[in-house]
Amino acid sequence: MNKRWEVFQNSSDYRFVPYIMAGDPCEEATIELSLALEESGAAALELGVPYSDPLADGPVIQRAGMRGLKQNMTLEKTIKLVSKLRDRGLKIPVIIFTYYNLLLQLGENRFIELARENGADGLLVPDLPYEESGYLKEMCKEQDLALISLTAPTTQLAKLHRLASEAEGFLYCISSLGVTGIRSEFRNGLNDFLKEARSHAKVPVLVGFGLSTREQIEQFEGNSDGYIVGSAIVKKIESLEEQLLHDRQNAIYDFKEFLQSLIPMYSR
């Protein structure tokens, strides 16, 4: 476990982990948005990689991916972007969120090498379930990268226990069925699921998928160690697209205001 993960895991905050898409709407915007997120309290950052076929994502993140693709953002460039983030002072763990096919084309070993070189801390592959992740998991462990595990409300209990106990970095608990996106309702029994996960996890247990308001975030506080917000943030970035390209200063200001309204005080 590297130092950035140590800080993350030892924090007593209710951890805020945002997701943004690399290259949305351009590389420099991604850098400044990342720094703004850290300033606003992010405990770690998920950096998405644009992909032609993002089958775990809803329309908001699909559109962000299309914007990233237009910028010719690739997995390799995304990893190298982390190094630029570090140069600009970003201190929180950065997790590369990539579909498995991109990883395969780059090469799993090459990915790990690049991740190490450029200061990335982890990896999340939404279409690589536990059952298929053996080799990558081992390699990541060797190289001190966290392969983030996802669990879902449909994960069978025995598997949940195994996932939780083996989790690195944090355990990602999916709050509802379906793809990423903004939701108004969550699944019944979600708190039981979170409790179960927490009782077996050695790392913080975070809840994600569909959280878009401070109220929603607050309702999980007792049963989780943090939360992930993706679509709500990406949607804000989408609304700021023009400004982020041509009047970035004001866009970032606006973005921070939005984060203030989203993130509970105790979680910054």
Partner: protein, 391 residues
């Protein structure tokens, strides 16, 4: 769930339990005599199986080579082999107590098959279809609605088959607890490729039996089938794989494998993951999936069933590519000599079988899987051959 390196279950954790549930149900079903008998009975009394093995006498003569035989999947209910698998999966859905099915479709053939079995077995049905395909295939969209299915327009990505499949998977992730995802080809995460093969192998089993009856217990000298996702091919090949029979899979070369307008996954693709399975895949160097092209709507899939990737790698099956023009020529020749208008997909297999038969002796026999009928392609053919706009 692996064929060498290929196959697997590359899907979100949310649906992993459903794949396990499905695998368990499937494994139980296929060793249950009652289920197998029911499946065979439905194939017979509903879809009209066995389909005949037709000697293409005049085609063979005109081609001046080996004897060509046609396995007539075009005579199935709804006009293609697709219904075999749709019936199998629907019976499994009923056995599992599911009341809802979802399916993806490109040109609409699998969508119609899925809507058909949903109507027959009293299930609700949602079919995901790209906006672009909906525009091009208005008749099939209407047919699905007539069968009671809801057709969901997919506006993401390139708005075609691969995006419809993505969207169907997304819907499945959201509704996984009570929904059966009826995949139409030998693709997708395990156990789908295995299941589709199981439900399509009736093609090959009947063929082997019919040929043996016609020819004194012999095996054919070659078997040819077209490959998009590869369900008719895997079904046809299934019983021949461990026999000493040369097998040929025919991909769509579109405008040519040296252009960027083709769907020759095995000839030109690299290992990758699509729709839950590790297989060969048409993609850019950094891993974005590219849009394939073929005149045949059923072959323009950027991936291929994982078992085909394996059979290709192990060289058990030889995979060849045939262009649009070659398939059109073969389609016309089959019309003129045998009075059979086959699907453009199947015409790829016919085209290759003509080439192959020319290299063989007149005592030898080539069996071609005629996976579907060409009625659905008449608009395309008219546009292509007469330059007429028929819409």
């Amino acid at each position: 769930g692996r064929y060498g390196d290929f196959g697997g279950k590359y899907v979100p954790e949310t649906i992993m339990f459903a794949l396990e549930e499905l695998e368990k149900a499937f494994d139980e079903a296929i060793v249950d005599d009652g289920f197998n008998k029911l499946f065979q009975k439905e194939l017979a009394i509903y879809s009209g199986r066995p389909t005949p093995l037709t000697p293409a006498t005049r085609l063979s003569e005109a081609n001046n080579g080996a004897n060509i035989y046609l396995k007539r999947e075009d005579l199935n209910h709804t006009g293609a082999h697709k219904i075999n698998n749709a019936i199998g999966q629907a019976l499994l859905a009923v056995r599992m107590g599911k009341k809802k099915i979802i399916a993806e479709t490109g040109a609409g053939q699998h969508g119609v098959a899925a809507a058909t079995v949903a109507a027959k077995y009293g299930l609700s049905c949602k079919v995901y279809m790209g906006k672009e395909d909906i525009r091009r295939q208005a008749l099939n969209v209407f047919r699905m609605k007539l069968l009671g299915a809801e057709v969901v327009e997919v506006t993401s990505g390139s708005q075609t088959l691969k995006d419809a499949t993505n969207e169907a998977i997304r819907e499945w992730v959201a509704a996984v607890e009570d929904t059966f995802y009826l995949i139409g080809s030998a693709v997708g995460p395990h156990p789908y490729p295995k299941m589709v093969k199981q439900f399509q192998q009736v093609i090959g089993i009947e063929t082997m039996d019919q040929f043996a009856k016609l020819r004194d217990g012999k095996l054919p000298d070659a078997v040819v089938a077209c490959v998009g996702g590869g369900s008719n091919a895997i079904g046809m090949f299934a019983p021949f794989i461990d026999k000493d029979v040369p097998l040929y899979g025919v991909e769509a070369a579109g405008l040519g494998v040296d252009t960027d307008q083709h769907a020759a996954t095995l000839s030109k693709g690299r290992n990758g993951v699509i729709h839950g399975s590790l297989t060969k895949l048409l993609q850019t160097s950094d891993g974005q999936i590219t849009e394939p092209y073929s005149i045949s709507a059923g072959l323009d899939y950027p991936g291929i069933g994982p078992e085909h990737a394996y059979l290709h790698e192990t060289k058990r099956v030889k995979y060849e590519a045939v262009t649009d023009q070659e398939s059109l020529d073969a389609l016309e020749q089959l019309c003129l000599t045998e009075g059979i208008l086959c699907a453009l997909e199947s015409a790829h297999a016919v085209a290759y079988s003509l080439k192959l038969a020319k290299t063989m002796s007149k005592n030898e026999s080539v069996i071609v899987c005629l996976s579907g009928r060409g009625d659905k392609d008449v608009h395309t053919l008219m546009e292509r051959m007469e330059g007429g706009d028929t819409e």
